[in-house]
Amino acid sequence: MVISSLVVETAPERTGEVACELSCRSGVEVHETNGHKLVVTVEAETVDDSHLIASGFISIAGVTGVNLVYANFEDDPSLHPVDRR
């Protein structure tokens, strides 16, 4: 499972509705609101899946910015094992 967190910026008057929309999406949790910013986590099987979810945020009406803060991918089964000396 890949766990990542983001700060989603919104138009000030639409923060609430953006939070509602995000909360409805699979693997997405809205943890808190700070002014027009939302603290969001995404949990998904792979980084690819996480990105697919997170990259969709920008098309939500009222979202003005999507900022990745943290991404943990230690359990991503799709990452290619590389022999390192």
Binding site: M1, I3, S4, S5, L6, V7, E9, A11, P12, H31, E32, N34, G35, H36, K37, L38, V39, V40, T41, E43, V47, D48, D49, S50, H51, L52, A54, S55, T64, G65, V66, N67, L68, V69, Y70, A71, N72, F73, E74, D75, S78, L79, H80, P81, V82, D83, R84, R85
Partner: protein
């Protein structure tokens, strides 16, 4: 991941994002530098790094467990991004783990297989290095004008520095140029012409304070997302903050601008002159600023176009750089034809929009920030257009003050730090110094401890990028070594340079060495491929667009037999310079003995010690007091080398990056956010520089102490048309560019499946009106032809850009739709940077 670990990771994720939203992330992330923090069972080792995708230079913290990257966090202590990354940062780790990483050296025995995915066999390092060294030495000894190196704005600072030293002082060759020639050269030449020093006066901090943003030919929303995020944040937080977007096509950046001004190609030159004319004719310029700070010039005009190989031998080519002094009144006279009405007719922009934009610069209280990238730089008059933007900021005094300034954005993570600052251009030495300037050569000899006159052998500039590839295509280059770039996709006029036409087959006879991390189009033309470390697989440094130098630490080992690029250059250097002397000393040891043991075939210290030693030598260029001989030349020739002062290496590790000039004040190294601006150093102003070299108390509180007579130059540059204009045979302008998911040629981002899935193929954006006119629809395959070549691509009317009638857009990330096959290699006569934005093409359904 067990339940405890998962809970811990999720709690960490929430806490970090919460702190980022509140602006207190720094207290949570803390210092990295390889130390484990907290419980080693739950948390890996952390390392400071810098994102390697674009020119923003965002800081990240890498977490490593068992020699594998397991997480990335935005670095709150890096002032460039303050803990926030864009979507490309999401995938930083994944680029290390693509299935087809190159892990062993490869050799091509049969040159007839060039241009295919076949023909490369595995080899040992010894065999590959011996072959490369033998070919280089053979060419060097026979005719060194036939060797060339093509380096990069993605090459870390110390690596670029060492390469420049090897090539310039060791091989005594100037045939080295970086791929930054393709993106930043127009900005560089203009900076040098106007200010006599490279890189912006302001910093990213201006984004947080400007009242008005003007983007010129820059799709920041896609090409510089973190900086665009700061711009939009400022619009939300500031009252009445406005954004004007100027370009030849509508982009995602236009979508959020308050007003978009779409102009006809090249008329940006006229629009800037129109603004200047409005300021001057109506006495709306900053008179005190003009009187205190500016000098005026005009330059050669009607300079033609550098389309043909012999352009530089023509009269226009030989005189293109000429300038002569004029008075302010003469400058005003030159501007006078650029009325709103004339420029509106020329550009297609409404008079009222031009007037509104001009009034922005006329408002003495408005803090205005201009931002630009490739639309301005990749322009047959790119240097001129850079000049014209400076002109309006200088006339209005809107420069070098918080929230105010012309800011040239960069396209690669260290185009500034490496290509521009350490001198991997064919005409440069480190720290803005020029090979053609005798005092600059003497100073460089002092720092490198070379006999006086040693560098006189390289006083003539070498071949710039387009010339290198033109000469190669004609069979005049015997040896080419490239690193950190993918020239077989990013160069223009690939039909010629890849030998796809009936003539110009030189590429098949040139011995080509490519340092790479993945197979690319360039490796398909390589005789030897050297597999190298990627990003945090070794330690390095990037220097971004705001003059911030930052270190990325080594976090994991390279895969397989891949090696640090610098090691490959040292191994070849020791072989090629074997038996050579500098003065009475062994040449290799004299140049690199302080970091490299040639008998052991390895560095004397680890990554950290090697980088620190190189940095400390490089730092002498901007701290001449560290070297008695250099200091004497700095003083006698009034070089003012401290203008770009760098701090000791360990300061960058401790501080997560610093913007130069960095000044030591009471034992603390302090960065500078606003060059030439007087004020407290601790607040980011250039207190030490102004006090040392400048004149306090002048208009605007600034002193341009590096400029000749301390006065930057306003150079009148007229409107001149594109190199070619649409006609019956080629009725469209083709504009090329980048999109968010893929960077440049897609070498790394296209290994990320999701990024590739999000934007799997390059599409030709065509306006619905043009589609109807030429009888094509969404999804149709078309053949795009120019005077230079052709490519096939799918049409889209709903793409990421919205071109107006007569203009089409295609990105260049996809090697299967190799758009550069058809792009002109005509370059700006001053900067030698190609114009990728205005090739005339025909479009035919296939």
């Amino acid at each position: 991941m067990d339940i405890t670990r998962r809970q811990f990771v999720k709690a960490t994720a929430v806490a970090l994002a919460s702190a980022a939203a509140a602006g207190t992330l720094s207290s949570l992330v803390g210092c990295a530098s390889g130390a484990t923090q907290g419980d080693a069972q739950t948390e890996g080792r952390k390392y400071t790094a810098v994102c390697r995708f674009c020119g923003c230079g965002c800081g990240v913290i890498c977490e490593v467990k068992d020699n594998r990257l397991v997480s990335v966090t935005g670095d709150p202590d890096n002032e460039s991004n303050k803990g926030l990354n864009c979507v490309k940062g999401y995938y930083l780790a994944k680029i290390l783990y693509g299935e087809d990483r190159l892990t062993v050296p490869l050799i091509r025995d049969d040159a007839s297989t060039k241009g295919t995915a076949e023909g490369l066999r595995e080899a040992t390092w010894d065999e590959a290095l011996e072959l490369v060294s033998a070919k280089l030495k053979e060419t060097w000894k026979a005719d060194k004008s036939r060797l060339a190196f093509w380096l990069s704005g993605q090459q870390p600072i110390t690596e670029g520095y060492a390469c420049a030293k090897f090539i310039k002082a060791g091989l005594l060759s100037n045939n080295v140029d970086p791929n930054a020639r393709l993106c930043m050269a127009s900005a560089v030449v203009s900076f040098m012409n106007v200010f006599q020093t490279d890189e912006p006066a302001g910093s990213y901090a201006d984004l947080d304070e400007a009242d008005v943003f003007v983007t010129w030919g820059a799709n920041m929303a896609e090409a510089h997302p973190m900086l665009y995020s700061r711009l939009t944040a400022r619009k939300l937080s500031g009252e009445g903050v406005r954004h004007y977007d100027l370009g030849t096509i509508t982009t995602r950046t236009s979508a959020s601008a308050d007003k978009t001004l779409i102009f006809k190609p090249n008329t940006d030159l006229a629009i800037a002159n129109c603004i200047a004319n409005h300021l001057v004719q109506n006495k709306l310029y900053d008179e005190a600023f003009v009187n205190d700070h500016l000098q005026f010039k005009q330059g050669a005009e009607n300079i033609g176009n550098a389309t043909m190989d012999d352009y530089e031998q023509t009269e226009a080519g030989k005189t293109a750089e000429n300038v002569s002094a004029i008075t302010f009144e003469e400058y005003a006279e030159r501007l006078s034809p650029y009325t709103f009405e004339y420029v509106s007719e020329l550009s297609g922009v409404a008079v009222e929009d031009l007037r509104e934009l001009a009034e922005v610069f006329a408002d003495p209280d408005a803090k205005v920030m201009s931002l630009w990238t490739m639309g301005v730089n990749q322009h047959n008059r790119g240097t001129w257009m850079n000049h014209n933007i400076y002109n309006i900021h200088l006339l209005s005094g809107k420069i070098a003050r918080p929230g105010c300034g012309p800011f040239s954005l960069t396209g690669q993570p260290t185009a500034c730090g490496t290509a521009r600052e350490v001198g991997t251009f064919c005409h440069r030495l480190p720290a803005d110094l020029l090979v053609a300037n005798e005092q600059h050569r003497r100073f460089t000899e002092a720092v490198w401890d070379l006999p006086e006159g040693h560098l006189d052998a390289i006083k003539a500039p070498g071949m710039h990028t387009v010339k290198i590839f033109r000469e190669m295509s004609k069979g005049n280059i015997d040896f080419l070594w490239s690193a950190h770039n993918n020239w077989a996709q990013s160069m223009p006029n690939l039909t010629r340079f890849l030998g796809m036409g009936e003539e110009n087959k030189g590429i098949f006879d040139t011995f080509i060495v490519v340092n790479e991390v993945y197979p690319t189009l360039s490796t398909q033309y390589a005789d030897v491929v050297l597999p190298v470390a990627l990003w945090v697989e070794r330690e390095g440094q990037f220097g971004n667009a705001e003059r911030r130098s930052a270190v990325f630490e080594k976090a994991v080992d390279p895969p397989g037999e891949a090696k640090w690029d610098l090691w490959t250059f040292m191994e070849v250097a020791r072989r090629v310079l074997d038996g050579e002397r500098i003065g009475d000393k062994d040449a290799f040891d004299h140049l690199f003995g302080f970091i490299y043991d040639k008998d052991a075939a390895d560095f004397k210290g680890d990554d950290r010690e090697t980088n620190r030693a190189l940095w400390e030598e490089y730092r002498i260029f901007s701290n001449p007091s560290l070297n008695e001989r250099a200091q004497a030349i700095n003083e006698s020739a009034k070089l003012k080398m401290e203008a770009k002062q760098l701090a000791p290496y360990d300061e960058y590790l401790a501080r997560h990056g610093l913007t130069w000039p960095v000044r030591e004040v009471d034992g603390t190294w302090m960065p500078t956010k606003w060059r030439f601006s007087d004020g407290a150093q601790e607040d980011g102003f250039d207190e030490v520089g102004v006090a040392t070299y400048g004149t306090p108390g002048l208009a605007g509180g600034v002193s341009f102490y590096k400029s000749t007579d301390m006065k930057p130059t306003v150079v009148f540059r007229p409107y001149e048309p594109p190199a070619e204009e649409p006609d019956e045979e080629y009725p469209f302008y083709l504009v090329t560019g980048r999109l968010l998911e893929h960077w440049h040629t897609g070498t790394m981002t296209r290994r990320v499946p999701e990024l590739d899935r999000a934007l799997p193929e390059a599409l030709l954006n065509v306006s619905p009106e043009d589609c109807e006119r030429i009888g094509v629809a969404d999804g149709d395959m078309v053949r795009v032809r120019s005077r230079f070549g052709q490519f096939d691509i799918k049409v889209s009317t709903a793409g990421r850009t919205e071109p107006p009638v007569g203009i089409v857009f295609a990105p260049f990330f996809a090697e299967e739709a190799l758009v550069n096959l058809a792009v002109q290699d005509t370059y700006c006569p001053l900067s030698k940077e190609p114009d990728y934005k205005k090739t005339c093409v025909s479009i035919e359904k296939i």
